[in-house]
Symmetry: C2
Amino acid sequence: MLKHGILGLLNYGSMTGYEINKAFKDSLSYFWNAQTSQIYRELQTIKSNGWATDEVVEQIGKPDKKIFTITESGRAELNRWLVEDNTEFVTRIPILMKTFFRGERSLEENIAYFSQLEDMGIDFLTQFQNEPPKVEDYSKRLKDPMNAVFWEMTVEFGKMYIQMYFSWVNQCKMRLEGIKNGSAQETPERQPN
Amino acid sequence: MLKHGILGLLNYGSMTGYEINKAFKDSLSYFWNAQTSQIYRELQTIKSNGWATDEVVEQIGKPDKKIFTITESGRAELNRWLVEDNTEFVTRIPILMKTFFRGERSLEENIAYFSQLEDMGIDFLTQFQNEPPKVEDYSKRLKDPMNAVFWEMTVEFGKMYIQMYFSWVNQCKMRLEGIKNGSAQETPERQPN
DNA sequence: TGGGTCATGTAACCTGTTACATGATTAG
DNA sequence: CTAATCATGTAACAGGTTACATGACCCA
């Protein structure tokens, strides 16, 4: 998956590991985390699979750099992956894993927990609004405006997700507050379907 | 994370690896995939960390089974994890990774792609409605009704997520259909903020 | 006689995380 | 003088995936 993300970026134009890392942070990091070390490792694999070639360029006043260029075989692999029909719907959501077992802690602590989740969402949103995904810079060379349509779609997903997330968090918080204030119908003894 | 999920289940009552696997499929699998082999491996680690003990029980007409029981130290670890404040907001979403690079393919193919995403959502929803998360069975021994509140919250998240997902997919599909039918304002040349 | 349930895993590989390492240039 | 930017990674470990292996019992 990460391999194919890198391949996709290289398809926009030749880049160094450093640039890929930045491009990643500026766009894909909103829904996919990748460590710098992992990117360099994947580049090795990509090269040894023949999906890209590299060229070392010496620089004055700066460290040497290694520019990766996608090959025909790499482009074929990218397209194979794009067309392949195996993406799974289920995504690991760490927040839900924790929420699931929260019955173990006190009511007050759990109300605070949801406030904390709310804060996390706000932090993400702030970051998202201050430094919105900006792949545009990396693809000036790409004349095809269709790419931008898909970038926007992933951004749109992000916006809708955050909105949904906030309403979920608030709903959970309100429910716990209802229980705290002793409204009996909030505790599920025989909840309706 | 998986370790702590298993620990959480063991906290509801002693179980074999087989039962944990089933409990997982019936509840946590809606937001966390785990292979059977992985569960057995994690149980080894859990045991060697002293978070659970095991007891082999011979059976007639059935294979022997190994019942795991959470220890005080395991319960402490579960609570440490629950209280710990390190859950990251960003989740890897494979579907977005693919969508991001879809500009590479044709319009028609991309419209079909979103139909396919829609079908995936429908499949998930069907499965979700036919066999809804049912942890209840595994926790009859737990008198505390508070647990169910949190289980329901994760189910609620799932419902809201699917809804959001469907409206995103349809919105994307409609946008592509708009482009296909030649409405110029859909192609982003200078899109507004 | 064929498929489902019960019940255990191992081995190899791939992917992700954490910690460490180096060092010059440039802008404030 | 200090922090950021540029630019490369390695090593070790943790977590996830795929393939394989075994075998009895029960129900239709």
